[in-house]
Symmetry: C2
Subunit: 687 residues, 2 copies
């Protein structure tokens, strides 16, 4: 029982906490379009897909599986072992959307889904259509490969999201019954339970969410149990494999062969480097951070920090992508960051955001977490979805040569165009649930401090000691680094009721003392101007180029903070131990990493070389791909003119004429919207 | 019958012909060691392997398969479908060795093998232990995948080699009976025969060898038939696949899925680019060139030229490697020549030599063929074998980072060290048969012209109109570009007998008129000095940097030609359409391409940059890896000193200190002999 009890020992970490999602409304020049797309296109389209109503798309069968399990219709299971999780991810996104905007039609569908889930749930609380329909009697026999607890995790996340948004007790009951049942199956040996854990981490972070919403420590303990069992000896995956007589579900895949693929090669506290499947690693790390926060387990938090540092200082792309290799969609080794054969799955960057967001709350404030979160969000994640909301990147290369994708097998996984909904549809619903909940990533609060991590326009309400502080953020951050934060109202909240629904404002007492803590993004190099009500303030500048600036004062309604971050075109260099970026430069401006495309620069991008310390120019093009800032830079092209098509491949005599040119760069997220062509983030540079 | 008859239409192409292997004896500073290694180590070791007597090595079972087929012992077939071909390749190499040096012990073993082959041969002439033992009744049902005619081809090549060396009629009889039987099975539809052809080309060139040694045009016609059937519609592989009910022998492999893999996607005359498995392509091309030469088929020769030009101007590595991709061990597309994920199989470069050697004989003299032959021979082929003769490269990368080989799946096929004998042992016996027959690649003769293509020291005899011209070549070509060719003797041959055995020299009449045509290697840039008997001669210089110089005179015994090719260190550039070599330089000196190794330059070779137009120096190091010339070059290293291990991966603020250094280069063939480490052929350069 020791491990179970550990959960209640130690003190909670002091942390800043996100505001309820319903308290933040985004109205942003850059982001509103994307969020609208999620609401109007992605989530409805996903619903059609789950119901097999998308012409030409591979059937999902996910809703039918549930209907069959519920006894609504006859038939057999179809799909992946984790097919149920697609329904859960949809429901989770629907919950976030309902938290921020009423949508009775969406709520009606969601409640039908909840009703279906309730009827598909087994009497003991178990809910997984693959095992119920296809392998009855085989529950918990192949945790390594079969995603049973992973699916449970997504169901729990969905339930917490939907319950938080709507107060719907049915969905929370489904999740609790399932989690309660799981707690009877898994636990310490001396309680006669299974000492297993899932091959795809997910339930760990979900159980902490369930604990937070219910207050039931059993869920926290179970999460901690799963984390602490992972990678211990004798090895559970070997034991269950023996019990199955050596049978495997995915014979060709790595899961059963390579425990590091699932981060089960070592106990989690002993893992010093980010190994294996990238999505699994960051989901696990997020769960570890959650448990550490709730239990005060400093060793576990230190383990999170080790993994974080390994990722951000040795295994992350400049776009916030992670996972260098398609084989296993996985990490490889330090400084191995090929631009072209890269995997950098959209889901992995979303998971990195989950991890960063937790560390940002739990660790003494360091803007590095938000910097990385922003890097992943504005580059890999936005890149993952087309502007029609119907096409997605799973793989996010930093260099693309379409003929290689077509003819060289090493690039087979790299697509030069966004693809329609896949059979294994992990990334689109993950983008949907992230963007639908984007509001919660902007601010956190702790005591009397309001941290602003992201500069995304909109409104927010903060309840502070019986007062409600209403702030409007007007943001031109993405393209110009300019933000205005206006304290719109400060009201006393009448204490007559518990819930927000019952509040009545008494009077506008119009002032409150608190600290507005503003993140200084690293890309401004510590160069920024902050004014309060038109007067420059002397700010605590912290480390140049990073950290947070604290504005502590008695704020009045009508106060306005104006922030201007300098936004130069940065010539970014990779660490000299990265083989792929040596001798190359990537342009970055503000949160956006830039790239060259064939559409602007012609084919053979590899021939383009930036002029050393050459001029760069920025102009906003409102007509281009929804409006974006284009960078032009002085460059040269190594000409092929004096090399005929039929010339010798190798010669010591050819001289390479260089022709001056102007190279054109667009933000990485906007690539691949103008037909199939080459793309490159890193460009040769003579410096 | 038309296609069969085509073979006898048209005139033979006028061509220069190789000298009999027995007429050339190599005594060369660079090559003799390698040939000695083949004789003393590789061929004996291979014999042990074929007999499953190499401790720790995967069993071959190849001799046992034959013994079982011969009824000498009980048992069942074991090995690949093409296991028999290993015995044939061994016998072919043994034949070449016996042609150049008496070796009664080797001959005794070889004749036992021949006896075994004779007894394993079926009454109708068929000889293939896989089908005889494992799939009786299934002959010729899966030409696409099962290498049946491929094995027949290797048997024929072995027989021709051994017969030519020793006059052994038994082995030739085995091959003829098999070929005669094959000719009853394959042929035009109106003769009621199969219109198939093998999935691995090989028999095509072998049948022309058999034709040349027997004079029986049936074999030439059959070769032509196989070539002309290839890739025609209705597609034979589809037809036989249908007849098999869709069963495949290698379910995971490309053979049955992708006809281009076997160059069967189009008729051979319509193939404009080198596609698919590289070894198959060059074996096929060699066969096409042979048939074209014998039939005077200009269209077929033109097809050879198309493939040749595509390879050498768009799809060949600077080391003479071909096949850019491990998937299918195959060509990809024009200018796609990655240095690191490369395949460049040793066997493919050997096949390229086969192809080049034929084109060199059949085409109006162009030194390009010999240039490419030399490039492949001195770089990829020699690199393929360790200096102990027991370790081999199958894959010949131009850039190696050992951690990538260990941890990044894209490099799994790339080995940083030569490997022991493999289960599928294609490359080692191919190296053995090439080096054992190297003598025939040095000279060809046509009318009264003696072409010297390679400058490899030793002696040769040329029978010219009843005279025997005996020339000694003393070569310091490899390291210093210096060659002396001495006309040692000119003798009249007594015409008493037909065969060489019966010759008696009458008297040394000491003079003969002929043309000595000397290849000018492209790497000397047209800068060379030729003296005859100490006097500079005005030579026909041809195109600067290439072509042949003709020295036509009445040669006397004692005449000496001294040739000195200038051998500067060449800074080679790749065509600007090659993405992988842009901004990089490879050093070449004489026939050798050079590389940097970690052993000389430390780790992180990617940080090294050649100084633009910096000094280079050459010194011969007699103690290094058997003696070789080392090049040193002024360079700079981008320092990591100001980037801590834990520094941000990407920054706009870091400056890269460059430290001057001297970069050390060794010939490519000698890499990977000093422990596991990084290697790079292409080095960054600011020019």
């Amino acid at each position: 029982m020791n491990q179970m009890e550990n959960a209640s020992s130690g003190a909670r970490l002091k942390r800043s906490q996100p505001l309820p999602l319903r308290s933040v409304h985004i109205e942003d020049r850059f982001w509103s379009d994307y969020i609208r797309l999620v609401r109007d296109v992605v989530v409805p389209y996903q619903w059609e897909a789950l119901n097999d109503r998308v012409p030409g798309a591979e059937p999902s069968h996910a809703i039918r599986n549930l209907r069959i399990a519920a006894g609504d219709e006859e038939g057999s299971f179809y799909g992946m072992v984790f097919q149920d999780s697609d329904v859960s991810k949809w429901l989770e996104a629907a919950g976030y959307l309902l938290a921020t905007e009423d949508d009775p039609a969406l709520a009606l569908i969601a409640e039908e889904v909840i009703d279906l889930l309730a009827r598909a749930q087994q009497p003991d609380g178990y809910l997984n259509t693959y095992f119920t329909l296809k392998e009855p009697g085989k529950r918990w026999t192949n945790l390594n490969e079969c995603h049973e607890l992973y699916c449970a995790g997504h169901l729990i996340e969905a339930a917490v999201s939907y319950y938080t948004a709507t107060g719907n007790a049915v969905v929370l009951g489904i999740a609790r019954r399932f989690a309660d049942y799981i707690a009877t199956v898994f636990g310490p040996e001396d309680a006669g339970k299974l000492q297993g854990y899932d091959g795809h981490q997910e339930i760990e972070l979900a159980l902490v969410k369930l604990y937070r919403v219910t207050g039931d420590k059993k869920y926290l303990s179970l999460s901690q149990f799963f984390l602490d069992q992972r990678g211990t000896q004798p090895h559970f995956y070997k034991q269950e494999w023996d019990r199955r007589g050596g049978s495997v579900h995915f014979p060709g895949l790595l899961m059963s062969q390579n425990y590091a693929y699932s981060q089960a090669h070592l106990p989690v506290r002993e893992q010093n480097t980010a190994e294996g499947h990238a999505v699994r690693l960051v989901y696990m790390s997020a769960g570890m951070a959650d448990v550490a926060a709730e239990t005060g387990d400093a060793e576990l938090l230190a383990a999170c920090r080790k993994l974080w540092r390994n990722i951000v200082t040795k295994r992350m792309y400049i776009t916030g992508g992670i996972g260098s290799m398609t084989h296993g969609e996985s990490f490889t080794f330090d400084y191995d960051l090929p631009s072209d054969t890269v995997y950098a799955e959209t889901c992995a960057s979303i998971g990195l955001i989950f991890f960063a967001w937790r560390m940002l709350q739990y660790e003494p404030v360091s803007s590095e977490y938000a910097d990385v979160l922003e890097r992943a969000l504005y580059n890999t994640v936005v890149s993952g979805m087309s502007r029609d909301g119907r096409h997605f990147f799973y793989v996010n290369p930093l260099e693309v040569h379409p003929a290689s994708c077509a003819h060289n097998h090493n690039y087979k996984h790299v697509k030069p165009e966004r693809q329609g909904w896949f059979g294994c549809a992990c990334c689109p619903p993950n983008i949907a649930r992230l963007l639908a909940s984007l509001g919660q990533y902007i601010y956190t609060v702790q005591d009397r401090t309001l941290y602003t991590h992201l500069y995304i326009g909109g409104q927010m309400d903060w309840e502070l000691d019986g007062q409600r502080v209403h702030i409007v953020q007007e943001s031109d951050y993405a393209w110009n680094g300019k933000v205005a934060m206006k304290v719109e109202q400060i009201e006393r909240i009448e204490q007559s009721g518990h819930s927000e629904q019952n509040e009545h404002t008494e009077q506008n007492d119009a002032q409150a003392e608190f600290t507005l803590s503003l993140r200084i993004p690293s890309w401004c190099g510590g160069r920024y101007h902050i004014q309060v009500n038109g007067s420059a303030v002397t700010a605590n500048e912290g480390t140049p180029g990073s950290g947070y600036v604290d504005l502590k004062r008695i704020w009045q309604a009508g106060d306005v903070v104006n922030i201007a971050f300098e936004m130069p075109v940065l010539r970014m260099k990779g660490h000299p131990l990265i083989r792929d970026t040596i001798g190359k430069t990537a342009l970055q401006r503000g949160p956006f990493v830039y790239c060259m495309e064939e559409a602007d620069n012609g084919a053979n991008l590899h021939q383009i070389m930036l002029t050393s310390e050459g001029e760069t120019d920025v102009r906003f093009d409102p007509g281009l791909l929804g409006g974006l800032s284009v960078i032009t830079a002085a460059a040269e092209r190594v000409g092929s003119a004096d090399w005929q098509e039929d010339a010798p491949l190798y010669t010591s005599e050819g001289s390479w004429a260089r022709s001056p040119m102007t190279a054109t760069f667009i933000p990485y997220y906007a690539w691949a919207n103008r037909g199939v062509g080459e793309m490159a983030v890193w460009v040769r540079d003579s410096v």
